[in-house]
């Protein structure tokens, strides 16, 4: 496989960004955002996860579309589980 060799500097930059985002999420959790706090926390976590996936796991540099399809499918299926289940819980009190 023609692997693209990622420069060490890139990895270290990503690491530093992850550290900063960790600090951010810890600090933000001490601010009262009401209902928004869960969304913000998940958004920051997702940014961190995306950095790990793209750079540490090398997804940014692979040239196989099928791998991307596999990853997206996994996330999409998790979404199916959560969305359709919450469709039940969220609507139980409607009637």
């Amino acid at each position: 496989m023609s692997a693209h060799i990622v420069p060490k500097k890139t990895y270290i930059t990503v690491w530093a960004t992850l550290m900063i985002l960790t600090v951010v999420t810890a600090v933000v959790s001490r601010i009262d955002l009401g209902d928004l706090s869960a969304i913000v926390a998940l958004a920051i976590a997702s940014c961190k996860a995306l950095l790990v996936v793209l750079f540490f796991m090398g997804v940014k540099y692979i040239n196989q579309r099928m791998t991307i399809v596999v990853i997206v499918a996994g996330i999409f299926w998790l979404a199916i589980l959560m969305v359709l289940s919450m469709a039940d819980y969220g609507t139980r009190l409607w009637s």
Partner: protein, 223 residues
Amino acid sequence: MSHSPTVAPHNPALQHHFADMEQQQEASMMGMWVFLITEIMFFGGMFLAYMVYRYMYYAAFVAGSRAMDFWYGTINTIVLICSSLTMALAVRASQVGQRKALVVLLIVTMLFGCAFMGIKAIEYTGHWRDHQFPGANFHFDGPDPQHTEIFFSLYWAMTGFHALHMLIGIVVVGFIAFYAWRGRYGPDYHNPVENVGLYWHFVDIVWIYLYPLLYLISHKHTG
């Protein structure tokens, strides 16, 4: 042997049902990613349970989260992110053929993993002592203790399965480090290192989500 008539010289790591190393490496990497999405769905079931009960019993979850040790959780997050860095650098070392760096980085990754497990052991002991393990001995002073027991059930289940995966990861990285020390990996063949790296990063990602959901639910200044 059912090869093509002339057996060309090939990489000793080539498995003979593959036509060439490229096919083997592509298959190997695809297999690892397919395995990782099974892990997404495995942990996903617990994340659903968490979502449902946090939606139903928010106050109980806030109380439970406040009882977690913020610093242990945060340090563990930092430890895992550092371990991901060393793991990524290890994979890079295998790609460019730096055997010594590869072995050192893999061992450092293991050490970070052990540090994580050590801190979790301290946390778990503390929770156990404070009657925060669900069951007959559970006791919690808070606004909704009965439902906080559910929070702790999910805490123990989710971090427990995560820790189990970490443990397996540490052992497997250990094996890879041993084979690396024996010179098995280089620019021509380093799939196992990459695949173990993928697994390790995945376990890190799970923790990246567990951390805010379990430790940071509500640490308002007023709390």
